[in-house]
């Protein structure tokens, strides 16, 4: 993605987990065991090239590009999640945001814990 480390200070660090089956497509080398959980540590610049702060949209594009060997099309189309995948931010459904804020425009905070979970249908 068109981001680069810049003079705005240290990187923004978030953790990303994948669950519900979409995890099967994630490159193993992207994941590490942290306190019993397999997660990806993602670093983004605090300001993108257009000087805006990284959002969920930026994260989804970054993850799609860097964390998937194949099956990225099951995760997202460009920078939006495919139907059937929920984003969870700090243990809450990402739709629980301030009124009027597009969920994709949620501005990532340092140490945010994000989970992308694909919905299951089997039984």
């Amino acid at each position: 993605m068109s981001v680069s480390m810049s003079a705005y200070g240290s990187a923004l660090r978030v953790t990303v987990e994948f669950a519900g089956g979409i995890d099967a497509h994630v490159k193993p080398e992207c994941l590490q065991m942290v306190d019993g959980a397999k997660l990806a540590r993602i670093e983004l610049p605090r300001r993108l090239d257009d000087s805006r702060a990284p959002t969920m949209r930026s994260l989804i594009a970054h993850v799609a590009q860097h964390c998937f060997a194949s099956g990225a099309e099951l995760f997202s189309t460009d920078d939006e999640l495919r139907p059937g995948i929920l984003a969870i931010i700090n243990d809450a459904d990402w739709e629980i945001t301030e009124d009027g804020v597009d969920k994709y425009d949620y501005v990532l905070q340092d140490q945010d814990a994000i989970v992308f979970v694909s919905t299951l249908h089997g039984g």
Partner: protein, 505 residues
């Protein structure tokens, strides 16, 4: 009489009784789809509560719990709960509902018991699988054995747009214990239109999910998932597998959520999604969910779905069962061969000395030859990238024809494109395993194997002849090698057409 002889007699008698029980249950099911519970003893006449003496004894340990008590128990007794899907989720859920004293339990399923169900669908028995019993009949027998005071209604039908209202309407709570997206959307919409809470569970592989929809200002299924997932992203238990206890965990928790709904406890809880995984630590994670969406197509302020007229399978791009797909990707039938044709090709190159250890051995025909090959076998190294092997996992017992035979070249390549886990379950002798999703990455290896053929044919095979068509497209298209054919029907077809001793999973 020798003990061994008596043991054999008793076992035979038990098997007979088990089969007989099912036959009788099926007959009863046809005569009275609704079990009339044992007559109610005089309630409340002695002791002052509105529970009968029998109920007080039976549910005493539950009555002692203040959150349940006499009031909660009476609520359970006076309630009707429908479990849609008498499978891995529905089995434990329905068993617990009946055991705990829910007065009426409905069972809806359109399927018969199969032996591959038994590792997780614990309401059913080996006898039911052997007899091919209806799941409703088999599960009704299980509930009846547990608690004859429970009224069990069976609906031996696929719940669809036409019958959903009528079936669901008679129940207070609906449990979604189904196995496919189309029925999940249908049940959601029916519950919204009927004003019923929906206790939704799901499980695949090592993961489970649980949510109560359409309750107390919380979201419905469509609020969370307005659009269905692409069918390619939907994993079913039949294709992706499932660890038996995982739906057991979720189905049991569905019964718990039903109790909370019936006692009123659930009204005090904000909407949440419970995630379970075998692999995660801790196993459970609860996520807060959004409230009902005003823009939702069915439960929103201006709904567009106002009746169950929709074609749910078309909406989801997949049918209402987890039956295996039957893809027709290769338009040209000349690019596919039957299993019999493959068998003839393998026999034509057969050598008199069969490879030891290759399995399974078709016993009804000469051993198709493992292919002699001067190249190292592509599958001789366990793949460590996408599927790390558990420590205790035995390696494939044989690497077919690993001895180099420098003076010969293989006359054909049998390319098995299933993942390594499936390849280890069963395979044809001589098959070379490169999983479909690794073909591009292992292109050099594949091209080397094809070059060694000196023009000989490549046969691509998989479980059912679906994925292997993509492999043929890749080899013909990207690699430009036209002597490449799909084995139509795959290994399932091999069992049906060539060797009935070949194991199928």
């Amino acid at each position: 009489m020798a003990a061994a002889e008596r043991i054999a007699q008793v076992r035979a008698r038990l098997a007979q009784l088990r089969a007989e029980e099912l036959a009788l249950e099926a007959e009863l099911c046809a005569l009275e789809p609704e079990v009339e519970p044992e007559p109610e003893p005089e309630p409340g006449s002695i002791g002052g509560s509105n529970l009968s003496r029998d109920d007080i004894q039976r549910y005493s340990r539950q009555l002692l719990v203040p959150e349940i008590g006499v009031r909660g128990q009476a609520r359970l007794r006076d309630s009707a709960v429908l479990v849609v899907g008498a499978g891995g989720l529905g089995s434990p859920c329905a068993l617990y509902l009946a055991a705990m004293g829910v007065g009426t339990v409905g069972l809806a399923d359109h399927d018969a018991v199969d032996v591959s169900n038994l590792h997780r669908q614990i309401a059913h028995t080996a006898a039911a699988a052997a007899a091919g019993a209806r799941k409703t009949v088999s599960a009704r027998a299980a509930l009846g054995r547990l608690n004859a005071r429970c009224r069990v209604r069976t609906h031996d039908a696929l719940v669809d747009s036409a019958n959903a209202r009528q079936i669901l309407g008679a129940y207070d709570v609906i449990v979604d214990a189904t196995d496919n997206a189309a029925t999940r959307y249908l049940l959601n919409d029916a519950c919204v239109l009927l004003g019923r809470p929906l206790v939704s569970g799901s499980a695949v592989r090592l993961d489970g999910q649980l949510t109560v929809y359409n309750h107390n200002g919380g979201p419905c299924y469509r609020c969370l998932f307005p659009a269905p997932p692409p069918p390619a992203a939907v994993a079913t238990c039949a294709e992706a597998g499932v660890l038996g206890v995982v739906p057991g965990v979720i189905g049991t928790l569905q019964a718990l959520e039903v109790v909370k709904l019936l006692t009123g406890r659930k009204a005090a809880e904000p909407p949440s999604l419970l995630l379970f995984s075998y692999a995660s630590h801790p196993h459970f994670r609860s996520v807060r969910l959004r409230p009902r969406s005003p823009a939702c197509a069915v439960c929103g302020d201006a709904p567009t779905v106002t009746a169950l007229a929709a074609d749910y399978p078309a909406f989801c791009g997949a049918g209402p069962t987890d039956a295996a797909p039957d893809w027709q990707i290769l338009a040209d039938p000349a690019q596919r061969v039957s299993c019999r044709e493959l068998s003839r090709a393998l026999q034509a190159m057969a050598q008199p000395d069969p490879q030891p250890g290759s399995q399974p051995q078709p016993d009804s025909q000469p051993q198709p030859d493992s292919q002699p090959d001067s190249q190292p076998q592509p599958d001789s190294q366990p793949q460590s990238d996408s599927q790390p092997q558990p420590d205790s996992q035995p390696q494939p017992d044989s690497q077919p024809d690993s001895q180099p035979q420098p003076d010969s070249h293989p006359s054909l390549l049998l390319l098995d494109v299933r993942d390594q886990t499936q390849f280890e379950i069963c395979r044809l002798p001589g098959a070379v395993n490169i999983p479909m999703d690794q073909l591009a990455r292992r292109r050099a290896e594949l091209e080397q194997a094809i070059a060694a053929l000196r023009g000989g044919p490549v046969y691509a095979i998989c479980r059912r002849g679906n994925l292997s068509q993509l492999a043929v497209q890749y080899i013909r298209g990207t690699l430009g090698y036209a002597e490449c054919y799909d084995v139509a029907g795959g290994l399932v077809g091999w069992q049906a057409e060539v060797d009935e001793g070949f194991p199928i999973y």
